[in-house]
Symmetry: C2
Subunit: 214 residues, 2 copies
Amino acid sequence: MNHDFVLKQLTWRYAVKKFDSSKKISATDWQILEESLRLSPSSYGLQPWKFIVVHNKEILKQLTSLSWGQSQVEDCSHYIVFTTKVQLDEEHIDRHVAKTAEIREIDVKNLAGYKRVMVGDLLNGPRSETIFHWAQRQAYIAMGFLMQTAAMMQIDSCPLEGLDPKGYDKVLGLENTGFGTVAAVACGYRHLDDKYQNIKKVRFDKKDIIIHLD
Amino acid sequence: MNHDFVLKQLTWRYAVKKFDSSKKISATDWQILEESLRLSPSSYGLQPWKFIVVHNKEILKQLTSLSWGQSQVEDCSHYIVFTTKVQLDEEHIDRHVAKTAEIREIDVKNLAGYKRVMVGDLLNGPRSETIFHWAQRQAYIAMGFLMQTAAMMQIDSCPLEGLDPKGYDKVLGLENTGFGTVAAVACGYRHLDDKYQNIKKVRFDKKDIIIHLD
């Protein structure tokens, strides 16, 4: 691959304000986007997340009103709500340890030390106090992977943080599931009328955000 | 581009435990990695971050001891520390508004409404209480962009969250700068001896993490 291609696509990407609702992501492309979420890295590989893809038009309508009325919720092709564990627990860690044992074909007993480190750090250590935020941060890596994968495939996206997480939880039936809404990403194809595609991207100069310590 | 290529590279990627310290990222490739950081999206486009690339061997040595002794800090090609605003302030928002006016060649006065929304939401609204975590989350999108861009270019990486942020701040001279350490990413090339490259990737099944609401 030409390395400049990555740069070209990252420059091409922008937060779409208006999608062309007649254009849908193909099933084949969608499978790759799902895999980009699944393959995202996370702390200890714990994947403290679930991604909810909302197709139901009635639910999307309700989510729009919980998202400052942003039109992307309904005019995009695929609307993905990012949710994370509200409280990380030993059960989740056990589930990850069991999956590790299964995939790598080893005895779960051999992972006792690995489990002990995770429990000591995340459930009993100082990080336990902000574990909710820890889980949310991991989801943002997956948001990055999803948006960049989409850009590589010439598929548009828009991240949405301006939403009512508690309202989303209610509409999506997340209450008492142990998962809570963090943010969302709308994926699809930009509408030719979306004027934001022609406006220059705003970024600080490289010298102001990248510091080299020689 | 063949869309399967993205999938191939995301599968190829893993958290490198041992880098080949003799292999360095070329200056041309490094420029693209820097751009992937700079072009990363963030809430309101506020980019509440600085990325510190540590080349100094003495500093890297000190950081290793603040990172559970993980060898990647020193054996990688480029070690990037992610830092974010400890407390978002009006000055930062003004800086972003001024840059927007400059790049888009508009009068800063025309952005007064945009500024008002950001101040109302992030500095005075309910989100102000957890604005530190908000800034950290944004940095994780950039971590995702950096790691995926690297993977696209057949460059390896390893994210490091197991580090002492306050210790890093001291060593990197961040105290009283308004920025604090969040996490780090080591970039470079995997050592052929790193056994983790041959171990199967562990992920939950798609049906357990991706939910469709029809």
